[in-house]
Amino acid sequence: MNQNVFKLTLPILFGYLPLGTAFGVLFSTQLDYAWWIAPLMGLVIYAGAGQILAVSLLAANAGLLEVAVAMLVLNARHLFYGLSLLGQFRGAGWRKGYLIFGLTDETYSLLTSRARSGDKHHEQEIDFRITAFNQLYWIAGCALGALLGDWIAFDSTGIEFALVALFIVLTIEQFKALRNTFPIWAGALAAGAAMLLIPATHQLIAAIAIVTAVLLIQYRYQSDSALEPEVSHD
């Protein structure tokens, strides 16, 4: 099972290791704390953009209230992720808390796009391992970056594109599963609108709010035109 999970999470490894390393390097060059604080943050916070923002907040000695507000706004997109996993995580027992804790952009995209059997407990066990593997990659990257500081010999410029490539692949996989291009156009256009109208720091949350609104309108339109509610099979 671990071998399959490793194969599934390999793209995340290529994304998280360099990204975590980038965070670690930033952390050790900007701040005066011990190196192990960086992997500790990866362990208890576990958020890419959040941790990178945290470095500049720490450097500025920001007030704790300001820190809380900044993190809530930056991570608000996660509010929407849980919605599509409510049923999937139900009955996961002690694993559930960790599954929710580890719901990063990348873990979310893997969990919602992979093929599933009918055996729910088995699938939840796999979800749990995927989450744990991903976090291990992240923590390893944070530690590596903090230790190496800025003397990395290998020219890794551009390797962070792995995350973009992963999102593209997962979009195609979502399309294959859905056979419906509407949400894909809606997502891309919402992103385009947000990038044109809104400053970079709030683009993600704005785009997600726009596309959620579009999907709600689509839902209203569908349930008006088809009065019959969808029949549930489970």
Binding site: P11, F14, I37, L40, V44, I45, Y46, A47, L58, V67, M71, L72, R77, H78, L79, F80, Y81, G82, L83, S84, L86, F89, I100, F101, S113, T157, G158, F161, A162, V164, A165, L166, F167, I168, V169, L170, T171, I172, Q174, L178, P183, I184, A186, G187, A188, A191, G192, M195, A200, L204, A207, I208, V211, L215, L216, Q218, Y219, Q222, E230, S232
Partner: protein
């Protein structure tokens, strides 16, 4: 001492705020998973968010000056789409696109004049 106290408080606040955004749907929507609206969002939202993330991060990887026109990221991006539609192997698609992007960034072959 106060320095390390601040750091620990900072990490605790950051961790709690991040976890809060992840746990809220599970606290407030748990009883409504059979509701058709939640099912609708659960079905379409992942695809929409994936397309959105791909678009935003693709745009951020690119240089949008008059010479480059974003091609330094758009070409690797299109390569990912092509290889993935051709072979359907996620790792191969990601590796091809990433290597192409790294080559372009490191050699500056598209960033003209630079």
């Amino acid at each position: 001492m106060t320095e390390s106290y601040y750091l620990m408080a900072f990490i605790a606040v950051t961790a709690l705020a991040t976890f809060a955004t992840r746990v809220v749907p599970f606290l407030f929507f748990e009883r409504h998973t059979e509701h058709p609206l939640i099912k609708h969002l659960g079905r379409f939202l992942p695809a929409a968010v994936m397309a959105l993330l791909a678009t935003v991060f693709l745009q951020r990887s690119a240089s949008w000056d008059a010479d480059t026109l974003g091609l330094d990221a758009l070409i690797p991006g299109l390569l990912v789409v092509a290889v993935h539609l051709w072979r359907g192997n996620a790792l191969l698609s990601i590796a091809t696109g990433t290597v192409a992007y790294m080559a372009i960034q490191q050699t500056g072959m598209i960033v003209s004049g630079g």
